[in-house]
C-alpha cells in the first residue's frame, strides 16, 4: 500500500494535471468547472491505476477520458437548464483564457444533443485540437478510414445545425 500512496499520486498529478486542466477549461469554459474535472479524472486514473500505467500513451488516455467526461458534464448542464425553463447558463467564474472555451462549450452543448458522441469526439480532436487523422485514430483506437468517415458525417450534420444561424446573421 505504501508504494501506491502519495508520492506516485503527486508525480502523476504534476506530470499530467496541466494538460487535463487545460483541456477541461477549453471544453467547459470555466476554471471552476475545469478544477472539478481534474479531480474526477485523477480519481478515475487512480482507480484504474494498473491499466493507466500499462497504456501505451497515458497522454492519449487522458485526452480521451477528459474529453468524454466533459461531454457528460455538458450534456448534464444542458438537461438541467432545460428543466429550469431555459434560464440563462449557470454562472461560472470565467477567466480571460477561458473565453474561447465558453464559445466551444455553447457549440458543444448544441451538437451533443443532436450528433452521436462518436462523431463529436472525433470532431473535437480534429477541429479544436487540430490533431491529424493518424493521431485521432491512435487516440480513439480505430482506423484512419473510420476517422475520415466520422469527420465527413460530422461535417454534414454540423452544417445542418449551423445553417439557421448563418442565415440569421446574413
Amino acid at each position: 500500500m505504501r508504494e501506491m500512496g502519495q508520492p506516485w499520486v503527486e508525480a502523476l498529478y504534476r506530470r499530467y494535471g496541466p494538460l487535463v486542466f487545460r483541456r477541461a477549461r477549453m471544453l467547459l469554459g470555466s476554471d471552476e468547472a475545469a478544477w472539478d474535472v481534474v479531480q474526477e479524472v485523477f480519481v478515475r486514473a487512480l482507480r484504474a491505476r494498473d491499466g493507466f500505467r500499462n497504456d501505451a500513451s497515458q497522454t492519449t488516455w487522458l485526452y480521451r477520458i477528459t474529453t468524454n467526461y466533459c461531454f457528460n458534464v455538458t450534456r448534464d448542464r444542458t438537461r438541467r437548464q432545460a428543466r429550469l425553463a431555459e434560464r440563462p447558463a449557470e454562472p461560472a467564474a470565467p477567466s480571460a483564457a477561458a473565453g474561447a472555451g465558453q464559445e466551444t462549450q455553447l457549440l458543444l452543448a448544441e451538437i451533443l444533443e443532436k450528433i452521436p458522441v462518436e462523431l463529436c469526439e472525433v470532431a473535437v480532436y480534429y477541429y479544436v485540437d487540430q490533431m491529424n487523422q493518424d493521431e485521432i485514430a491512435a487516440t480513439v483506437g480505430t482506423s484512419r478510414k473510420t476517422v475520415g468517415n466520422r469527420l465527413r458525417e460530422f461535417r454534414a450534420r454540423a452544417q445542418t445545425l449551423l445553417e439557421p444561424e448563418s442565415e440569421a446573421s446574413a
Partner: protein, 255 residues
C-alpha cells in the same frame, strides 16, 4: 459560433498538435523517433515553438496554483481539500477491491459532473477482480458488476449494446429500475456474465425520475439503434426523461 472551423483542410499544415506537444512536455515520447521528428519541426517552426512555450507557461501556472496533495493546513480551499481526500481515498479504494465487493467511496469524492455515473468491475474466469475502465477489453465469460452514483434521487438501470448492435438489460434483475439515493455509490445486485458476441460494447446507465420497467429502456435504446444502425444513440434520440452516462469497452476472445 465559430469555435469549430469546419473548413479546416484535411491535408493539414504540418504543424504539431497539442497532443504531440503534450507528449513532448510530459516526456512520454522521450527517445523515440517521433520525438526526434517533432524536435526538428520545432526548430524550424516559430508557431509551434511559441505554442510549446505557451503550454509550458500554462503548466507552470497550473502547478503554482494547484491543490496540494497534502493535508490542507496551508490554506487550501474547501473544494481543493476535498480533492486531496478524494485522491487518497481513491488509492485506498483501488487497493481494497477484493472478493468482488467494491467499497463505497467517500461521499466527498464527487462534486460535480453527470447526474449518473457508472463504474464497472470485472471478474475474469481466472478469478481476478479489477476495475474495468472505458476503452479496456473484457472477455467472454467475465463477470461484470456495476456501481452507480447518482446526484439526485431517482431510479437507475443499465442497458448494454453489444457488438451485434443488440440492446439488453444488464442492471435490473427484478425487471424494474433500482432506487438510488443521491451521492451514495450503490453496487447493483447480481453480476452479468459476458456472452460470446465479440466487438465494441457500450453500456448506458440511466437515472430516471420514474420507476420505469427496465424493458422500456431496452426498447428505447433498440429503437434508436434500429433507426440509425451505425451510430450510438444520443440522449435526444432516446426521448426519455433520464440522465445518462455511457461506458464503452471492447469484448475480445480470451487469449
Amino acid at each position: 459560433m465559430t469555435a469549430l472551423n469546419l473548413n479546416r483542410s484535411d491535408a493539414g499544415d504540418g504543424c504539431l498538435s497539442d497532443l504531440a506537444l503534450d507528449q513532448l512536455l510530459t516526456g512520454e515520447s522521450a527517445g523515440s523517433l517521433a520525438e526526434q521528428t517533432r524536435r526538428r519541426h520545432l526548430a524550424q517552426c516559430p508557431a509551434c515553438a511559441a505554442r510549446l512555450a505557451e503550454l509550458e507557461r500554462e503548466a507552470a501556472m497550473f502547478l503554482a496554483d494547484r491543490p496540494r496533495l497534502a493535508p490542507a493546513s496551508d490554506g487550501a480551499s474547501g473544494r481543493r481539500a476535498r480533492w486531496i481526500a478524494g485522491a487518497v481515498a481513491a488509492v485506498a479504494a483501488v487497493a481494497a477491491i477484493a472478493l468482488f465487493r467494491p467499497p463505497a467511496p467517500p461521499s466527498d469524492i464527487r462534486v460535480k459532473g453527470s447526474a449518473i455515473e457508472i463504474e464497472v468491475f470485472a471478474k475474469s474466469t481466472h478469478g481476478r477482480v479489477a476495475p474495468l475502465f472505458p476503452g479496456q477489453v473484457a472477455h467472454p465469460g467475465d463477470l461484470l458488476r456495476f456501481r452507480l452514483t447518482a446526484h439526485w434521487a431517482g431510479y437507475a438501470g443499465v442497458v448494454s449494446v453489444d457488438g451485434a448492435r443488440q440492446a439488453s438489460d444488464y442492471g435490473s434483475p427484478s425487471g424494474r429500475l433500482t432506487a438510488l439515493a443521491p451521492y451514495h455509490a450503490q453496487l447493483l445486485d447480481g453480476a452479468i456474465e459476458l456472452d460470446g458476441v465479440l466487438g465494441p460494447e457500450r453500456l448506458y446507465a440511466f437515472l430516471c425520475r420514474d420507476r420505469l420497467a427496465s424493458a422500456a429502456l431496452v426498447r428505447a435504446v433498440q429503437t434508436a439503434l434500429d433507426a440509425r444502425p451505425s451510430m450510438s444513440p444520443t440522449a435526444a434520440d432516446l426521448r426519455l426523461d433520464c440522465a445518462l452516462d455511457t461506458f464503452a469497452f471492447t469484448k475480445v476472445a480470451a487469449p
